[in-house]
């Protein structure tokens, strides 16, 4: 049951599918996406009729318990996993043509995974420059750009280090710089800081906020940490498990950039409490 492409709001989900806080341009539109896995005779509905529009420059957190399909949704959005039905529109053009991705649409995306997935045979500079290398940018030019990005993510002194010489947080910074190197309009992040300790994580959240505001990139951020989701997101999208569907959309309503202190304000605490109740209830 493939749905026709609809850029307009489609209140298909049970709750508030057409919630749109900003009238600005829609960057990415998730249009009736469903995904069913079939392992042997067992059918699993991972995603069911997901509809969501994300505006340019917005940061959206996707939250839910493990197994609710949030990573699946991100893989569908990243062009790594074809949806069973529905489509993803980036700037209005469909990402999927049946189960084939449109490569020109992929070019506008940057993806950061749960693990940094750096290539151990490349140093920091070459890891960051890899996307440019694949695009055919010459060596001097791409190294120059990679160094600028390394500076941006705070890895100025580590141009020639190899991934194994870096800490987990530094590796994830390299992965972010790599995802940014092609100048994507949309950054898709799948629990990128999940493996980091709380201190490093907080620091990385601030860095990400700074980078996203500096580059004006639109961010979709998958996490299972409520406070991280509220801190980073303009909106928090909550998925419910089996089948994964949008349960609730929370407008955080606190202006960005936010400082760490925002976490101690009553408004912040109230959002967190609301989300926690919804997740547990």
């Amino acid at each position: 049951m493939t749905q026709p492409s609809q850029a307009s709001a489609n209140p298909g989900s049970s709750v508030a599918g057409d919630f749109r806080p900003s009238p600005s341009r829609v960057k990415i539109s998730i249009d009736g996406v469903s995904k069913t896995f079939q392992v042997k005779k067992q059918r699993t509905e991972a995603l069911k009729d997901i509809n969501l529009q994300i505006a340019e420059g917005e940061t959206v957190s996707l939250i839910g318990r493990s197994g609710c399909g949030k990573s699946t949704l991100l893989r569908v959005m990243a062009g790594l996993l074809p949806p069973s039905s529905g489509n993803i529109l980036v700037n209005g053009s469909p990402l999927w043509r049946r189960s084939q991705v449109d490569t020109s649409v992929i070019e506008q995306l940057g993806v950061v995974f749960q693990e940094a997935n750096l290539f151990p045979w490349f140093d920091v500079t070459d890891n960051i420059a890899l996307p440019l290398k694949l695009r055919g940018v010459n060596k001097t030019e791409r190294r120059k750009r990679a160094r600028e990005l390394a500076d941006l993510v705070g890895l100025g002194g580590f141009f020639n280090s190899y991934p194994r010489e870096l800490s987990g947080g530094m590796r994830q910074r390299v992965a972010i710089a790599r995802a940014l190197s092609r100048g994507p309009e949309l950054l898709l992040m799948d629990e990128p800081f999940g493996a980091l300790d709380a201190m490093t994580r907080e620091k990385m959240n601030l860095e990400l906020q700074r980078i996203s505001l500096a580059t004006q990139v639109t961010v979709v951020f998958v996490t299972h940490d409520i406070s991280e989701a509220v801190f980073l997101g303009d909106r928090v999208i909550q998925l419910s498990p089996r089948p994964g569907r949008i349960e609730e959309i929370t407008d955080v309503g606190i202006a960005r950039p936010r400082s760490v202190d925002v976490q101690t304000t009553p408004a912040f605490g109230e959002r967190i409490r609301k989300l926690r109740d919804a997740l547990e209830g």
Partner: protein, 265 residues
């Protein structure tokens, strides 16, 4: 810092020291217990015989024969091993059909086929090259196969999200991921290639270091026998060292190389 420098040089100082010590014990005990030099000659006698042998051009010809057999046999094994390893790693039905056959051929003692190869390929270098190739092929092929199948799915995702072409995936990801596996296979393979060539020479023909061992045995020349073994060890060591250097050059980033370079890099 002092500690790590000491550790770095320990294998260069320690190992030779242990060997010298063992030789001394050997020398003294053989002389004290008056062991027949036909059974166990003292190291000094072996050393003298070695110096004699090294001065004969005949010895060098035999050494070159063995070296040539190993080089050709090992090169063929690497080429065939990479070819079949990649082929089986890429084509699932081929792996399912052929892998059990290759594993079976690897497990059964293929040294047992050596007389057959002598019948098929003659008493010259041909049969020895074939034996060296056969012995070195299996570990190389099975390692490459494992390497092709072990490319990190996370790395593949990165390449997909970057719209990489097949050629780009090949040169930036697959070749480089397989390299440590290939080199591990080569490390085992090169040792087996030397063994294969020597065993081939035992059984047929009149050239090579293996033949020299048989000849010294027939002449009851125990010091000569030991001296040839020393030459053989040096040849084997050089081959192994070359693979090791290749490893340092090709995969300096890999754990096996990185760790051996010591603490500070």
């Amino acid at each position: 810092m002092r500690n790590s420098t000491l550790q770095k040089y320990l294998s260069w100082i320690g190992a030779p020291a242990v060997i010298v010590l063992l030789c001394l014990i050997w020398e003294v005990s053989v002389r004290v217990m008056e062991v027949s030099t036909l059974i166990l000659p003292p190291p000094s006698m072996i050393g003298n015989r070695l110096i004699e042998l090294v001065q004969e051009s005949d010895t060098w010809n035999h050494t070159m024969t063995t070296v040539t057999e190993v080089v050709i046999g090992f090169t063929l094994a690497v080429l065939l091993g990479v070819f079949f390893g990649v082929l089986l790693g890429k084509i699932v039905w081929l792996e399912l059909t052929l892998r059990p056959v290759f594993v079976l051929l690897y497990i059964i003692p293929n040294i047992a086929f050596v007389p057959l190869f002598v019948i098929w390929f003659g008493f010259g270098m041909g049969s020895k090259i074939v034996i060296a190739t056969v012995l070195a092929f299996f570990p190389i092929m099975l390692n490459v196969l494992l390497g092709v199948k072990s490319v990190d799915p996370g790395h593949r995702d990165v390449m997909s999200s970057l719209n990489a072409t097949k050629a780009q995936r090949f040169s930036n990801l697959e070749v480089r991921s397989v390299m440590p596996y290939l080199l591990a296979g080569m490390e085992t393979g090169v040792v087996l290639a030397v063994i294969g060539a020597i065993v081939g020479e035992y059984l047929g023909g009149n050239e090579g270091l293996g033949y020299l061992i048989v000849r010294t045995l027939n002449q009851m020349d125990a010091p000569g026998l030991f001296a040839v073994i020393v030459i053989l060890s040096v040849v084997g060591l050089i081959f192994y060292g070359m693979v090791f250097l290749l490893k340092r050059f090709l995969i300096p980033w890999h754990e096996s190389v990185y760790a051996s370079r010591g603490v500070s890099v």
